[in-house]
């Protein structure tokens, strides 16, 4: 039966009558075969959202169903690649349509001609269940791709190809399931992007995602398999923070989703990541990164899909046993895409025009994070770090508020810190991490017994300063007694010397936990020593004039990341300087 377009309203088209299409089915729209997805069906009409610009579409053009939901193709070739929101490789689109993206370009998601050096890991007669690895190939010099039996498929190996070079669609293993049907396994399979990939069980998060950023690792850590939100107005450094995390965090694989953001930013990511040599492997960052770029001027429906495409790719690598981190920049643009489509469907709006299902969509998304045991018994994780762009920098708006409910880490970016160029502009009073107690054992056994005590002391000084600042703002700091002036000085060292971190400085851009701990110890040692000196009646102005506080502010640049002995030098210097009084 021919289904013909009846109505067109922006990215939303309607078809009349019983179309035989099913909900969430992928369709091709019109003579240009634009990709679309069925988003509503009732007895009168069927609604389709189109992932490309609908200018020039005529009513009466045909809509063809594919019988399948919108799927991502999963196989080797995802890494080092850059896709649009529905997993079309942008480089291949460029080859076809030039510097500007034209409509109706059909390209396969993954390179179908490239040959991979495949090693088969099963034998005839083996019984394979879902999630079991049957072949591996080096996808990039640092990541081995593991082909896994797709979920809901199992059986006995009937045929195995010898090791050698294969393309993604070549059959390498044939399985016979318990009903006697044959299944051909190639190097790739498809998975519907809106369905979470099944796992054997969820595990309790126990290790942090080490990022090398002091304020995150020390004050507000996120667990591997955890969720974090970075809300902040424009210019507060959301994107910058996400770039830093993507570059330095200790995940195996990074999926970077540029969702409704700037085109120049994506070209920057491309350029920076290919020039940045990963210290762990000595290879460019791009070897373990996949980018999804659906910039703000690309079609809005594809922006809505980009988040799901990204998380599906991440879950796929998780199932191979990798730790994956997703940077979603920005989830607010995704929520706005939902609002835009919802408006076109004339649905009843809830807060600020957002649809009533905004919270459930957000929670569905963040719940796809986690540390899991996959069906094949591998342990892997997906960590989601979502940027939120609150309208008018107002954290009470619906997207920020609902994100707060479903994430366990909240890194609130602060405009006044950003104005003073204090980066990362994460506010230490309004941010929080719920993972601290889950991770305390890890810090104790992997960093040091006193790590959390130091952290507690540091936050205590910051809190005391926060209280004192209310007085200082009214009457100035001169009036305070010396012990309170010391708190203000130490807090300054913590703020400028510890929390503020220079992303463009060679030593400071990434700082290992051991140095973070050492810096905290030195700061606290100075604080304690000065307290002792003050008790003898020496005024703090004389101590400040020694320049010790300013010296500690510069220590982040002066202590090399690989020099563990610096701590004692600083202790001695502090002792010697204070002795002169």
């Amino acid at each position: 039966m021919d289904n013909l377009i009846f109505g067109i309203n922006g990215p939303v088209i309607t078809l009349l009558g019983d179309t035989g299409l099913s909900l969430m089915e992928m369709v091709y729209v019109g003579k240009d075969k634009l990709v679309g997805e069925v988003i509503g069906i009732n007895e009168r009409e069927t609604t389709v959202q189109v992932y490309e610009n609908t200018t020039g579409l005529h009513p009466g053009e045909e809509v063809i169903g594919t019988g399948n939901p919108l799927c991502a193709t999963l196989g080797p070739g995802i890494l080092s690649n850059i896709f649009d929101g529905i997993e079309r490789p942008l480089k291949d689109i460029e080859a076809i349509s030039g510097d500007f993206i034209s409509r109706g370009v059909t390209v396969p998601s993954l390179d179908e001609h490239r040959e991979w050096n495949v090693t088969l890991t099963v034998n005839v007669g083996d019984k394979l269940s879902s999630g079991v690895i049957y072949a591996t190939c080096p996808e990039t010099p640092v990541i081995t791709h593991k082909c896994i039996v797709p979920p809901a498929l199992s059986g006995i190996v009937e045929q195995v190809k010898p090791n050698g070079k294969y393309r993604i669609n070549d059959t390498v293993v044939t399985l016979r399931d318990d009903k006697g049907r044959l299944h051909e396994l190639s190097l790739c399979h498809k998975w519907p992007i809106r369905t979470p990939r099944p796992t054997a069980k969820r595990l309790y998060a126990k290790a942090p995602l080490v990022t090398g950023q002091r304020i995150i690792d020390t004050l507000f850590p996120v667990a591997k398999g955890g969720t974090a939100a970075i809300p902040g107005g424009f210019g507060t450094g959301k994107t910058m923070t996400q770039h830093q995390l993507a570059k330095w965090c200790d995940a195996d694989i990074i999926i970077y989703i540029g969702c409704g953001e700037r085109g120049n930013e994506m070209s920057q990511v491309l350029e920076e990541f290919s020039n940045l040599i990963d210290p762990k492997s000595g290879r460019p960052m791009t070897d373990r990164t996949s980018l999804i770029a659906n910039t703000s001027n690309m079609p809005v429906a594809a922006r809505e899909a980009s988040i799901y495409t990204g998380i599906t790719l991440a879950e796929y690598y998780r199932d191979m046993g990798y730790h994956v981190a997703i940077m979603a920049d920005s989830t607010s643009r995704w929520a706005e895409a939902l609002r835009e489509i919802s408006g076109r469907l004339e649905e009843m709006p809830a807060e600020e025009g957002f649809p009533a299902y905004l919270p459930s969509r957000l929670s569905e998304f963040y719940e796809r994070a986690g540390l899991v045991e996959s069906l094949g018994g591998n342990q892997g994780s997906v960590t989601i770090i979502g940027a939120v762009s609150p309208q008018g920098s107002d954290f009470s708006e619906p997207v920020t508020q609902n994100t707060k409910r479903f994430t366990r880490c909240f890194w609130a970016l602060d405009k006044s810190l950003a104005y003073a160029r204090h980066y990362p502009a994460i506010n230490w009073t309004s941010s929080y991490s719920e993972y601290l107690s889950d991770l305390s054992q890890w810090y104790k056994s992997n960093v040091s017994e006193d790590f959390l005590d130091c952290r507690a002391r540091i936050t205590q000084v910051l809190q005391e300063e926060n209280k004192l600042m209310e007085i200082v703002k009214l009457i100035g700091a001169d009036i305070l007694p010396d012990d309170q002036k010391l708190v203000i000085e130490t807090a300054r060292v913590i703020r400028v010397g510890f929390l503020q971190q220079n992303a463009y400085h060679k030593e400071d851009t990434y700082v290992p936990l051991s140095k973070q701990l050492m810096m905290m110890r030195i700061i606290l040692y100075l604080h304690r020593s000065v307290q002792a000196v003050l008790a003898t009646g020496i005024p703090i102005s004389r101590i400040i004039s020694l320049g010790l506080f300013d010296k500690l502010i510069r220590m982040k640049y002066e202590i090399p990341n690989d020099k563990p002995k610096a701590q004692d030098d600083y202790f001695t210097q502090i002792d010697n300087a204070l002795k002169t009084l």
Binding site: L90, G98, N264, N297, E336, G353, H422
Partner: protein, 464 residues
């Protein structure tokens, strides 16, 4: 001879705000252009914005005044709204819909393009990193403009944003390139006739008038036409930049009027409003304009945008500046207090920002100390604000010696660094040296963003 059947649809079914509804329309396409003939001989244009079977909702650019249910004949043109393109555009003045209105006749087009454009493929972009010297200290040093950037000016009514834009046009030089193929595209949306005239005269004074394409939709021009103006202007800009290899600076003023036109249209179409009555797709719509800046691999041309918008009630959290700030690569924020203090340009350093600056300054672009000086000036000026608010409570006399020095630094910074003449063109070296001169007012310990080696070379407290 080609026989084509021209079908005209008589009358309309519904009129509402800026839209008309036609029924029984056959063979129409989404966003197609229509021409509406009125019985009194008037002609209007519009485009199809929604289709339901044979019912077409049409946006009328010139407004619906004078249209009745029976007095129109509407014809479909079979293509979306297009812009005629040719290098002849340079030096011409066009109306808000891209039709010449300077009395010099039609433009003979080399090509026609859909004014909506198509998105630049992110992998085809060249990451911008060429410094544009504007000769204005506050901009060059603190929020450097980069070729291919979109850097809006956030202003308020009554502030001197037009002078600032005109000064940028006059003084802008691309550091590493000759200026041979430099041109300006100017789009006015809902601005006063005086403002458009001011820009025309200032282009004339700086001798660039024959390299300017002006699109004028003034405040008394049709409101819905305003939705087309930036798109026509950017289609022309993209053509000149990417087809003709020119360096194009696009000035668009006032984006707030544009957004209001969009709101008016959205309301008449009965759409569900988002914040402050603006349509929910305002972000995507603004992005479809601002994202048309940049550089691409296959051309040596570039499109740099300086949109100007007035913040209603000087409120930076208003949806238009707010969403703009999320799309553009920074912003230049003008400040009412500086302006009323007689400081020109009244650029407020702290909320202003250039996102592309970090990769376009420093050794090989401007000067090795640029980033350190800029960072230190920002950090010190932030402390000046704290000292000033403390001084307003306890009085300047009671401040600590360091705070007093900060106040002094703040005063010099406002009056010598930010403040500069309308005709004064400072080189980047002059600007950075001035920055050091001001920093030398402060005690050395205050300068915590600069490493010792750089301080040795430049910090000089005796040179006052």
């Amino acid at each position: 001879m080609i026989l084509s059947m021209i079908i005209e649809y008589m009358g309309v079914k519904e009129i509402n705000g800026s839209i008309i509804v036609l029924d029984g329309v056959k063979d129409l396409s989404f966003e197609e252009t229509v021409v509406i003939h009125l019985d009194n001989g008037q002609e209007r244009s519009g485009r199809v914005v929604q289709i339901e079977g044979e019912r077409a909702v049409i946006q009328v650019f010139e407004g619906v005044k004078g249209i009745s249910l029976t007095n129109t004949r509407t014809r479909l043109l079979g293509h979306p709204v297009e812009m005629p393109l040719s290098t002849e555009l340079l030096g011409r003045i066009l109306d808000g819909a891209g039709r010449p209105n300077d009395g010099l006749g039609d433009i003979f087009p080399e090509k026609r393009r859909d004014i909506n454009g198509t998105p630049i493929n992110p992998v085809s972009r060249v990451y911008p990193r060429n410094f544009i010297s504007t000769g204005i200290s506050s901009i060059d040093c603190l929020m450097t403009l980069i070729r291919g950037q979109k850097l809006p000016i956030f202003s308020g009514s009554g502030m001197r944003h037009n002078e600032l834009a005109a000064q940028i046009v006059r003084q802008a030089r691309i550091a590493d390139d000759s200026d041979t193929d430099f041109a300006i595209v100017f789009a006015a949306m809902g601005v006063k006739n005086d403002v458009a005239d001011y820009f025309r005269r200032s282009f004339e004074d700086s001798g660039v008038l024959n390299r300017v394409v002006m699109f004028l939709n003034l405040s008394n021009d049709p409101i819905i036409e305003r939705i087309l103006t930036p798109r026509c202007a950017l289609t022309a800009a993209e053509y000149l930049a990417f087809d003709r290899g020119m360096q194009i600076l696009v000035i668009m003023t006032d984006m707030t009027s544009y957004a209001e036109a969009l709101r008016e249209f959205s309301a008449s179409k009965g759409e569900i409003p988002g914040r402050k009555g603006y349509p929910g797709y305002l972000y995507s719509d603004l992005a479809s304009i601002y994202e048309r800046a940049g550089m691409i691999k296959s051309s040596r041309g570039s499109v740099t945008q300086i949109p100007i918008l007035t913040m209603p009630n000087d409120d930076i959290t208003h949806p238009v500046p707010d969403l703009t700030g999320y799309i553009t690569e920074g912003q230049i924020v003008l400040d009412r207090t500086l302006d009323s203090g007689g400081i020109y340009p009244p650029v407020s350093p702290l909320p202003s920002l250039s996102r592309l600056m970090k990769d376009g300054i420093g050794d090989g672009f401007t000067r090795a100390d640029h980033s350190a000086v800029a960072n230190q000036l920002f950090a010190c000026y932030a402390r000046v604000q704290e000292a000033r608010s403390l001084a307003s409570v306890i009085g300047e006399e009671e401040l600590s010696p360091n705070d007093k020095k900060l106040i002094e630094f703040g005063r010099l910074f406002d009056n010598k660094f930010i403040n500069q003449g309308y005709l004064e063109n400072r080189t980047i070296d002059q600007t950075l040296d001035l920055g050091w001169e001001l920093l030398s007012v402060l005690p050395r310990e205050e300068l915590d963003r600069i490493d010792d080696k750089m301080l040795e070379g430049h910090y000089n407290p005796d040179n006052q």
